[in-house]
Symmetry: C2
């Protein structure tokens, strides 16, 4: 088997942790597997480098920032190779130049375009563990780029796809994907498996241990992922295509407190109003999530939408400047709670069951939005945990059916 293993900064934050990771990789290697390891910068080192840069220049050129930041992963991979060498296992570290990890040109937020696998394959054929810098690439100018948020996960999945790896393991500080946040829902249970689509919905909802970009890439290339802990040997959660063996209808409950509701009351009821409103917001890069349009009084209409807390006030200001309406209301004390599950597509009554759970708990639903595998409601933020528990219990997610 060829296995790509990705470890985040916390997992390589000091000498002991580096040896913990080295030990796990060597164990896999000694079973006869080919092992490719992807690492982030140690601990909070990327933040240290950012602080150094800001001290020199509060607004540093992004090209130079990437030149600076890429040193972090290079240090991690070199030290990891040294650790493995001290255990008597041949290992080699490679950076984005050595791999030839081609990305788009955009500094600080590049996308992977193509990976040359020749060097990696040569090293694997020489029975070496290959340790590769996550988060970084090179662009057509032969300059370093970084991949932005979730970058190292994306590197790992892209490598797994390019190398046709059998498995891409993402090591993190949690045991896997849960039916709900265990800190908020006591009966939350680790899932053995989720589909790519479920994982994507969960990531969007802020419950994700994986960044969307890596999951999208895994789905596109059919890379089987496993999310598991670097601190124990528990099995983790498999992320793959699929009809689930378990036949669970709902996989999990997720909440996102970063939501604000903007209600625009008494807009003119004429064509193009919604277009004008949302086009204005889009021009200012304000992402809109849920949208609800209803008929207002006296031939007007009301449009209510949600966006992030951060963007809510700017959105209201833009609307005030550009639109005719009676009143506007911004409410940041709201949260999104969602159920996610591939089984929903073919099961009637799932949404109703969720609403029933909330009704039983006397929780008011302010907005509703659905996708094929997700139902999201907007509720008062203060009721989030109560709502999650009520839904989790209603669907009996804590029991290992």
């Amino acid at each position: 088997m060829l296995i790509v293993k990705k470890f985040g900064g916390t997992s390589v934050g000091n000498r002991d942790r580096i040896f913990n990771v080295a030990g796990r990789c060597v164990e896999e290697y000694k079973k006869g597997n080919d092992v490719v390891v992807v690492l982030s910068a140690m601990g909070k080192y990327t933040d240290v480098l950012i602080d150094m840069a800001k001290e020199i220049n509060p607004n540093p050129p992004k090209r130079e920032m990437d030149m600076l930041l890429t040193t972090g992963e290079q240090q991690s991979v070199a030290l990891m190779a040294m650790a493995m060498a001290s255990m008597g296992v041949p290992a080699v570290s490679l950076n984005a130049f050595q791999v030839a990890m081609h990305t788009t040109s955009t500094y600080s937020n590049a996308r992977i375009k193509r990976i040359d696998t020749e060097r990696i394959r040569n090293e694997i054929e020489q029975h070496k563990i290959v340790i590769i810098t996550g988060f970084q690439g090179i662009n057509k100018y032969d300059d370093y780029t970084t991949l932005g948020r979730g970058g190292s996960d994306t590197t790992a999945v892209a490598l797994a796809a390019a190398l046709h790896a059998d498995l891409c393991e993402i090591y993190t500080d949690v045991d896997g994907v849960y039916t709900a946040d265990p800190r908020k829902v006591k009966s939350a249970r680790k899932l053995d498996m989720v589909t790519y689509d479920e994982m994507l919905e969960l990531a969007t909802l802020g419950a994700g241990v994986l960044h969307n970009r890596s999951v999208e890439l895994a789905k596109k290339y059919g890379v089987q992922m496993v999310v598991r802990s670097s601190l124990n040997t528990n099995e983790g959660t498999i992320v793959k295509e699929g009809n689930k063996m378990e036949k669970m209808i709902v996989s999990g409950v997720a909440a996102d407190p970063d939501a604000a509701r903007v209600a625009v009351i008494g807009l003119k009821d004429e064509p193009g109003v919604a277009f004008k409103l949302f086009n204005e917001l889009a021009k200012h890069n304000i992402n809109i999530d849920m949208i609800l349009q209803s008929v207002g009084r006296h031939g007007t209409k009301d449009i209510t939408f949600t966006c992030s807390d951060e963007d809510a006030d700017e959105a209201a200001e833009l609307i005030k400047a550009k639109m005719d309406f009676e009143s506007i209301d911004v409410n940041k004390d709201v949260a999104k709670v969602s159920i996610v599950g591939a089984g929903m597509q073919s099961n009637a009554g799932v949404a109703a069951k969720m609403f029933e759970a909330l009704y039983d708990s006397n929780i008011n639903i302010r907005m509703i939005s659905t996708s094929e595998i997700r139902v999201t409601v907007l509720i008062n933020a203060s009721e989030t945990e109560r709502a999650m528990n009520a839904i989790h219990d209603k669907f009996d997610l804590g029991s290992d059916k």
Copy 2:
């Protein structure tokens, strides 16, 4: 003019120093010159990285050590580019991959083979200050190498040669090359100019502010160097080919306390004895400096030589194991004192004048060795400073003739 400027770790050790260097480079740039800057890692950062490595693996693979160490200069150049950007001057940092700084394969002690100048020239044509990582290269395997001692100076000179630069300025923490170590000889005076050969002899004698490798390279390609301080704007010392304008016979006095004398008494007086002895030492990588062979008593011969303090005992052991002789004596309490000067070649009596100075000071000469532009004597280590001052005064080096 195209000027290559090299700054060591101390010169870029913190924010203020980075801006000091940036300021000097920008000043040169604003005069209309093309500026290429070569930097070392910040302050003692290379040592920090070495300590990190040793904590992981006391005997780390050299390939991985170079992978780790090269991050140091990459951080320096990125931060410098940010500093220049904040001053409104376009700058770009380049590492060994981006320049294509080709070296031999030997990790930790590589030699520069070839520099691709296309990228650098392109950046210069776009009127950017180009900031390049010193000390590092890439080998035929596409792996990082480092150049060993004096590496960043060598990078600067090699770049100056490849780019046909008009000048290669080596910035350091002293004002230039002195007639003697100012800490030991009060009347020591900064030289306006020395020849490559004088600089080479001074470097070998431990008095050099430049490493031999960089001077040899400068001589080979006719690169005019200047050694000057990064802390002030004094003129510094020019190093170039030449018949000196000043017509000074002796340029300076240098001392090297790291010398040991090994005297082998009563060797057989037959052919091949010297060959056998020095061949044995060469096989064990022991560098020999001065050699003196004299006729001993009763048809024997004596061979006396100097080596570094560190190698002296091993040398004696090797000789004991392989050679027939009467007795051997190791003395580490000796030092070399030398006069260096291109003018010596055509001036009789220079050596005699040096010996006279020592005689006047009642300092015993234990060995003598000469080259075309150097006279070296071995004396008791305790008399080093007194000898230096006596010679310095005798040749009147403190006065600006």
